[in-house]
Subunit: 286 residues, 2 copies
């Protein structure tokens, strides 16, 4: 496993691999790796002949009042974990090398960013899309593997690939959860024990929506309202949003007449958590 | 010379060429080719082993009140002209194939777009950057050749390549002019004879600024003011802007203490014309 720090060396390495006609599978991360990330790496190992994992806490996707400085960083531990897997390259650039001239050119998608996390975190997805475009140009992956937990992010990146004719196939992996249902997140380490317990309300709200759909409910506003009640009813939790949307476009949906996604976000202590679940439309009624 | 209409065929062709380790030189155009475009193609022939010319009137870079429908189109004549040169591929896609899902993801650069043509044509450079990023991903050029006449466009594209780590080297070619100094433009065919004569005032304004610099003038506002007076004094012409800016960043410049560019734009009849010239700082005074 080779660790590459300089963007131009990463790009040259990727070009050499492509000249040798090797398929590159890429897992972009912000480090602080947990079992969720590792599941993405295992999936990448299956898809490509060469696996590249990037570790980069991207400053441009954090708002001025957000936790960029506090975001957990432990490159040594990350590298140790990746050594246990079949990773060929770890790309861990410095922000100064990724954004040498400050910021000039950005990517954005207004339509898909004006809701959910994009509404609560202005500029966040602009930062995400811009750095992912850069990383794709540097790593030149055939496959890029993302977690379903960041559902809106993955939807935006899929759309970017389509809109801008990138050659990368986006692969989505299921959210990895603790045994009690809490979605793994690098930010979970910030949760105090009572907050950790309170945070389960997000998963409970999603399970509730799934149960309502299993019982035939197809009114998305009723599903959203039930999730909001569940989350708002919990202690230590500040609801941000709980919505149901078209899983492909993230557009609002009145009836559950196509594949949908239930999306929730809440503040728990100083930590902002998100989660989601896919909802299949109920069977046609007789 | 092969004509390719489908984006995915262009991309596959480019990938095959790159696998054969051939250098691709690319000239993106909106067709209606004139001697200026042909000079770009000749330069591309010198730079690469394979020359690709795209012909695509990009709807997303025209404003709602602009001349998208009227923009001159003559693919047959364009192809005939390119056959005379050493062009390997003409990429001429349909808008419906380039933007199949409407528009979602855009590129923009607020800082470099809020002046000059970007101010007069809101959304224009967003459309340009987005389509150029798409074309770069489809054609995968080692070199892309642009004309100096569209100076702000070229500066924005250079910055995009730097910011997003594209692998394409941007090559700029001098503006080609009629014998009386009028910069060649596909839009010149719209000029009535008296407008054609009136349009010379743009070139005259730039020559005036060059003469002032040769005489030691380094106050950029005086240069700009002189250009504005020249253009406003001509008949049939509506001044849009006349400015002097840093040639690398397009930032405002008080003194001509580095390489600068004088940029002018004006409406002549129904036609909007632009032109520019580079200004070197005067020799150090003894």
């Amino acid at each position: 496993m080779e660790i590459i720090r300089r963007p131009h060396l990463m790009q040259q390495t990727a070009l050499d691999l492509k000249r040798d006609r090797l398929k590159i599978a890429f897992v972009p991360t912000m480090g602080a790796l947990h079992a969720g990330h590792l599941s993405l790496v295992r999936r990448a190992n299956q898809m490509g002949q060469v696996t590249v994992v990037s570790i980069f806490v991207n400053p441009t996707q954090f708002g001025p009042s957000e936790d960029f400085e506090q975001y957990p960083r432990d490159l040594g531990r990350d590298v140790d974990q990746l050594k246990e897997l079949d990773v060929d390259y770890v790309f861990a650039p410095d922000p100064a090398d990724m954004f040498p001239g400050g910021s000039g050119t950005y990517l954005y998608n207004e339509t898909m960013s004006n809701r959910f996390c994009g509404k609560s975190r202005p500029g966040h997805f602009r930062g995400v899309l811009t750095v992912v475009a850069k990383l794709f140009n540097l790593v030149r992956p055939d496959f890029a593997v993302f977690g379903q937990k960041d559902f809106q992010q993955a939807a935006l990146i899929k759309r970017m690939v389509l809109d801008l004719n990138f050659l990368t196939e986006i692969v989505l992996c299921p959210t990895v959860r603790e045994s009690d249902g809490l979605a793994l997140s690098s930010r979970n380490i910030f949760l105090k024990p009572e907050e950790r317990q309170a945070a389960l309300v997000l998963h409970r709200a999603l399970r509730g929506a799934e149960a309502m759909v299993a019982d035939g409910e197809d009114d998305t506003e009723k599903l959203a309202e039930a999730m909001r009640e569940t989350i708002s009813g919990g202690p230590l939790v500040r609801l941000d949003y709980a919505e149901v949307a078209d899983a492909a476009t993230l557009e609002p949906l009145e009836r559950l007449d196509r594949r949908a996604v239930a999306l929730v976000a809440a503040g728990v202590g100083v930590t902002r958590l998100i989660d989601n679940t896919l909802l299949e439309p109920p069977e046609e009624k007789q």
